[in-house]
């Protein structure tokens, strides 16, 4: 996921430059078989989960003997599932906003500021990506308990934002590195004050980075299980609900939910990619 925002100019055939063996017809076949194999390997869960979700059986059955949409119907009619989904959406949208603002401002600060310990601050902002989530969770749990943020909407938002901010930060930071600051000087010389310059010039040009970062922030929160398990209490987010379901009564509703989740992720990913391509086409 991280790769998308940073090395967004790498194309698969660039690899051929580094591997002379991949030239020629045989090479092309070899390259494609490897690529297809890797893609298949990555997509295996989908090939298993999606058929199970359509099964008529009440057990996890693969391949399904007969088809039915009952597990999807079950999901949409279940109060527990739907309220968990709504909570997850609410949290993820708020996390998207919080992480976008904090991540973007942090990226501006580190890109433009002149201060000591810049490298240190950089690592600090990225640390939630490096430190195991379980360690963060324990810390958050004991700290939030004192603040009364357990089983609380804002507690979840804050907890998830810690994990999501680095994704926004790194995407916006990369966008700012590629931003030519002469454009801001030009804008000023043409009569635009700093706020207008940001609104008309700087932000439109780094918007793809902010946008992709925000999508990742959404997904990080929507996917998040470990922190949520510690602090969500009886108000389950969707991943927590899924986890509980696995532990208590395994049935294909889980597979239906998983399929929907995968669908959502794919949609998000492709829209991020579409934004990137559109900007690339437009401004080269």
């Amino acid at each position: 996921m991280l790769v998308l925002g940073i090395h967004n100019n790498t194309r698969i055939f660039d690899l051929a430059i580094y591997m002379p063996i991949l030239h020629g017809k045989l090479g092309k076949i070899l390259l494609w078989s490897i690529v297809v194999l890797i893609l298949f390997f990555l997509a295996i869960p989908l090939f298993v989960v999606f058929p199970i979700s359509l099964s008529a059986s009440s057990y996890l059955e693969f391949p399904p003997k007969s088809l039915s949409s009952q597990w999807y119907a079950n999901y949409f009619s279940s109060h527990a599932w739907i309220s968990a989904t709504i909570l997850s959406f609410k949290v993820a949208l708020m996390v998207m906003a919080v992480a976008s603002i904090i991540g973007t401002t942090a990226a501006f600060g580190l890109n433009r500021g002149r201060f000591r310990w810049k490298g240190g601050v950089f690592v600090l902002i990225l640390s939630p990506m490096i430190i195991p989530t379980i360690v963060i969770s324990v810390g958050i749990y004991s700290f939030f308990a004192k603040l009364g943020l357990i089983e609380n909407y804002w507690g979840l938002v804050l907890g998830h934002s810690i994990l999501a901010t680095p994704f926004v930060f790194i995407n916006v930071f990369a966008a700012l590195q590629g931003f030519d600051r002469t454009l801001e000087k030009a804008s000023a010389s043409l009569g635009a004050n700093p706020i207008r310059t940001f609104y008309y010039i700087t932000f439109p040009l780094i918007r793809p980075g902010v946008f992709v970062g925000a999508l990742f922030a959404f997904l990080v929160s929507f996917d998040e299980l470990v922190i949520s398990m510690w602090i969500s209490g009886s108000r389950h987010t969707l991943p927590v609900q899924m986890w509980m379901d696995v532990r208590l009564e395994i049935n294909p509703t889980l597979a239906a939910v998983s399929s929907l989740l995968i669908g959502l992720s794919i949609l998000t990913f492709f829209s991020a990619e579409a934004v990137r391509r559109r900007t690339e086409r437009k401004y080269g």
Binding site: D180, K185, A188, L190, P204, L205
Partner: protein, 366 residues
């Protein structure tokens, strides 16, 4: 072409003992100059001479450590860039990549809340001025370097600023296009009457375009003058050497009886100086341009400064000779009209020049 009523009058810009320190480095050191309304003034110097810093201070991107900038006698040093109403053209054009040509040109007008109907008209006039009609809908990346530069000029002039700053605007273009744009920029300047402060490190460009040239080195003013003065009467060795090509010799002037003589010991020559000018006795330097020297075959002349042709470079319109005179290299340039290819590498030759073509540069001692 632009109609007469659109003609704008340029402003006077005055820089007063401007100084800028970057840490221990004096990027600009007590620089003063004035650009008259409607004139074309060039800041010329090698990289690190402070010319771009000076321009940035006039534009408002940097604040001076001390000194003042006055636009039509009003100090502007404390006014932020966006309120200065000064046009600027950048070396890399700095066009907004997410806007079309017409959006780029409209930008300064929108910032000034000009009426929509007027904006349209002004864009058309501005693009006509730089001969880019029909490119309104293009994005900058769809234009060539020269076209991008034209858009940048149109954008910087569309709001009729009284002063236009240009920071090496032609640096990224190839030689032919650069020469064409030099003429065009001059043409546009004459049409609009805008005062231009131009930065370049290209001395030829400065000579071609400027009414006044300000030569800087290490942040210090070296000389101010029109192109002819700068080329013909350089005031110090730096200017003589930086502008065009020249031969510099150590010289010593002394008075003997009622006449003055100059000894050029590197050439082993002592020459009488004209009596109608007075010369201060002492050490100095003499600059003689390559095109002011000529060669003759040694067999034809009995006396003179003798040397041997060490290198012969055919340039087309002229031929350049590097002649070894007592182990000092002297550069001589023969225009095609006088050079008939009679000299070869290794020939023994005699060097000639008119005494009036020697430029005496005082003050500096090696």
């Amino acid at each position: 072409m632009r109609s007469e009523e659109n003609t704008i009058s340029g402003a006077q810009i005055e820089v007063r003992s401007l100084t800028k320190h970057f840490g221990p480095v004096k990027a600009v050191d007590a620089l003063s100059f004035t650009a008259q309304p409607g004139s074309f003034v060039t800041l010329l110097g090698p990289s690190g001479s402070g010319k771009t810093t000076t321009l940035n201070i006039i534009a408002g991107f940097e604040s001076p450590t001390s000194g003042e900038v006055l636009l039509d006698s009003k100090p502007i040093t404390l006014i932020p860039t966006y309120k200065r109403n000064i046009g600027m053209v950048f070396q890399n054009y700095a066009l907004f990549p997410h806007m079309t040509v017409s959006q780029n040109v409209a930008y300064p007008l929108q910032m000034r809340s000009v009426q929509k109907s007027l904006i349209h008209e002004r864009i058309r006039d501005a693009l006509q001025m730089v001969q880019l009609e029909g490119f309104e809908k293009r994005y900058p990346r769809q234009l060539s370097g020269g076209q991008q530069q034209r858009v940048a000029i149109a954008r910087a002039l569309v709001f009729n600023p009284p002063l236009l700053l240009m920071d090496e605007p032609l640096g990224a273009l190839d030689k032919k296009l650069r020469e064409q744009m030099q003429i065009e920029i001059k043409h546009i300047q004459n049409q609009t009457g805008v005062t231009v402060v131009y930065v370049t490190h290209d001395q030829e460009e400065a000579l071609v375009m400027s009414d006044k040239i300000i030569i800087l080195n290490h942040g210090r003013l070296q000389q101010i003058g029109n192109p002819r003065e700068i080329y013909d009467q350089p005031q110090n060795r730096f200017v003589a050497d930086f502008i065009g090509e020249t031969n510099l010799f150590e010289a010593k002037i002394r008075h003997e009886n009622s006449r003055s003589v100059v000894a050029l010991h590197e050439l082993g020559a002592t020459l009488d100086l004209p009596v109608n000018r007075s010369f201060a006795a002492g050490k100095c330097h003499v600059s003689i341009r390559p095109e002011m020297l000529w060669l003759e075959n040694k067999a034809h002349k009995r006396s003179g400064i003798e040397g041997r042709i060490e290198e012969l470079i055919y340039i087309g319109e002229s031929t350049k000779y590097i002649v070894n005179v007592r182990n000092k290299h002297v550069v001589i340039r023969h225009p095609k009209r006088v050079d008939r290819g009679l000299f070869k590498k290794g020939d023994q030759v005699v060097l000639w020049f008119n005494i009036a073509d020697m430029v005496f540069i005082d003050g500096e001692t090696p």
